[in-house]
Amino acid sequence: MLAEALALSAVLFAIGVIGVLTRRNAIIIFMCVELMLNAVNLSFVALSTLYGASGQVFVVFTMTVAAAEAAVGLAIIIAIFRHVKTVNLQNINLLKG
């Protein structure tokens, strides 16, 4: 049972990574990152069956942190939107070289 759960979380993690690489919209990229975080939560929960409750405690921590991060992240995305009227990362490349 554990192996399948870990495999699933690994697959989810990979999907998240591919999402970040291929998509161009900032919000979708952020959602993919959240997906990766939740994949890790899944593996934590799976592992806690082996080593007792401390894994699940960790999940609670990651969830709260993810929430805080989401709040701040979206605020940043709104700030960038106010400037360039778009969240498409293709034309956000002022800083380069």
Binding site: V33, M36, S43, F61, G73, I77, A79, V84, L95
Partner: protein, 504 residues
């Protein structure tokens, strides 16, 4: 006096300085939000936060003086932690001090900018104290989130917003890897406490264990990103250029110092058993970081981006300390980070002093013939450049920093002589751009149209000359700091028998 961390009140005492800072920061945040935005308010909050930092430094020094230690638990109580705290607090102090005048010039009115710095510093102190991967994760997140916002502080510049967006997205992306690494390490060893992990890896000979291997790799990737080492450095130049200069200085020094502190503690306490696995990658990571950081810096025209690449190169040098995997390496790291922080802060302070409103005047061409107009600033800048390059006497303590690193590398059980040669040769490349700054300032005539930079505020000039003087003085008599950094090395919890070999 040894803290028994199982007992909550003792745990609270062990976290004394951290708590003082966090509680103070929250109080200040309320006060900041209470009054409408204005320059005076922002200055008042700034001064208050400086006072808070000084108090925390005082408490930390008092804690360090008492020679405390702790039993096994989620946090560590040793000189390494207090030393790292002091470095981060000094970084914060510098950032806020520069920020006070910089914000007025750039019309950044929100007083919360100083409070955010305090929160980031709280995160750093947590990282320094962390002896549990959970605390590491929390510290990293607390610090990063605060710094994501700080990077985008200047609402009116779209560069800042773009910088903070990139920092946020890539930061989150990398933290996911870190977290996944923690999960796998937890999966393979069954615990998140560094000492337990260390024991289990050594006993169970986990070096061949696939999950532990992948876990260590992911941890390395996570930390690699946080310290902006080479393959993971792409975000750094843009974020450093976009962020307000005091915050860039803060990111280049304090954030990097904290990240390395936890990196080294994890590597020394949890993963020495995995040495076989991570030695080559860390070796190559250091070499690539040094090479990429120094060569790309050669082609930079904007001074902030140049200093960004220089900080990437310095991450490479510090990775050499990690690669040694010895306690002497960690002492060398501490000494080097002090020298590096002084020099970087000085350099950024000069960038602020020379820069004009709207982050103008940061191009190398604006520095031509600066010596004829601002001899003091030019001389200070050349001291910082030579210190970053590691030049003796004129570069003061920078030289001894590199010296200590090289000595630790050569005297490591597995001598890194070739890496030392790589370090030395890449620092010759670094001479190319560091000296270029000096050359432009001293050897070129002041172009006619160039406007003489307006006289910087007292605090900025204070930071510039204070750091320059300290660098030069330490350059002559470094033994004080050497003794101090050799004493503050991570020490295993007291319960265990003292096994760590004494660093030379």
């Amino acid at each position: 006096m040894t803290f028994d961390l199982a007992n909550p009140s003792q745990l609270m005492q062990a976290l004394g300085p951290d708590l003082l800072l966090i509680v103070g920061a929250m109080a200040l945040m309320l006060w900041a939000a209470w009054r409408p935005e204005s320059d005076e308010h922002q200055r008042a909050v700034g001064v208050a936060s400086l006072a808070l930092i000084v108090a925390t430094i005082g408490l930390t020094i008092w804690y360090a003086a008492r020679g405390l230690s702790s039993g096994p638990g989620i946090i560590a109580v040793d000189n390494f932690r207090w030393a790292a705290n002091i470095v981060c607090l000094l970084g914060a102090f510098g950032a806020i001090a520069l920020g006070l005048e910089y914000n007025v010039r750039e019309r950044i009115r929100p007083a919360e900018s100083h409070v955010l710095v305090l929160f980031a510093t709280a995160g750093m102190m947590m990282l320094a104290a962390a002896r549990d991967l959970m605390i590491v994760f929390l510290g990293v997140e607390l610090m990063s989130v605060a710094v994501y916002v700080l990077a985008g502080l200047n609402r009116r510049s779209n560069k800042a917003a773009e910088g903070s967006l990139k920092y946020f997205l890539l930061g989150a992306f990398a933290t996911a890897f870190l977290l996944y690494g923690i999960a796998l390490i937890f999966g393979s060893t069954g615990s998140t406490n560094l000492t337990e992990i260390g024991q289990r890896i050594v006993e169970g000979n986990y070096v061949a264990h696939p999950m532990a291997l992948v876990g260590t790799a992911l941890l390395l990737i996570g930390f690699g990103f946080k310290v902006a080492a080479a393959p993971f450095h792409m975000w750094a130049p843009d974020v450093y250029e976009g962020a307000p200069t005091p915050i860039t200085a803060f990111m280049a020094t304090a954030v990097k110092a904290a990240a390395f502190t936890t990196f080294i503690r994890v590597w020394l306490e949890a993963l020495p058993g995995m040495g076989e696995a991570w030695f080559a990658p860390v070796w190559w990571l250091a070499a690539v970081a040094m090479f990429v950081g120094n060569t790309v810096a050669l082609s930079q025209r904007n001074l902030k981006r140049l200093l960004a690449y220089s900080s990437i190169a310095h991450s490479g040098y510090l990775l050499v300390a990690v690669a040694t995997g010895t306690l002497a390496g960690s002492a060398a790291f501490l000494f080097y980070i002090v020298a590096y922080t002084l020099a970087s802060f000085g350099a950024f302070a000069v960038v602020i002093a020379v820069g004009s409103e709207g982050d103008g005047n940061n191009e190398l061409s604006d520095y031509e013939g600066l010596w004829h107009v601002r001899p003091g600033l030019a001389a200070a800048m050349s001291v910082f450049m030579l210190s970053l390059m590691g030049f003796p006497i004129f570069g003061g303590v920078g030289f001894f920093g590199k010296w200590y690193l090289l000595m630790a590398a050569i005297e490591a059980p597995r001598p890194l002589t070739t890496l030392a040669v790589v370090l030395v040769l890449t620092s010759v490349i670094s001479a190319g751009y560091y000296l270029n700054v000096v050359r432009v300032m001293f050897m070129k005539a002041r172009p006619e149209g160039a406007i003489t930079p307006v006289r910087a505020g007292p605090l900025t000039r204070g930071v510039v000359f204070a750091t320059a003087v300290v660098i030069l003085v330490l350059g002559l008599v470094p033994s004080r700091v050497i003794g101090w950094s050799r004493a503050s090395i991570p020490r295993a919890p007291v319960a265990q028998t003292a096994s760590a070999d004494l660093p030379k």
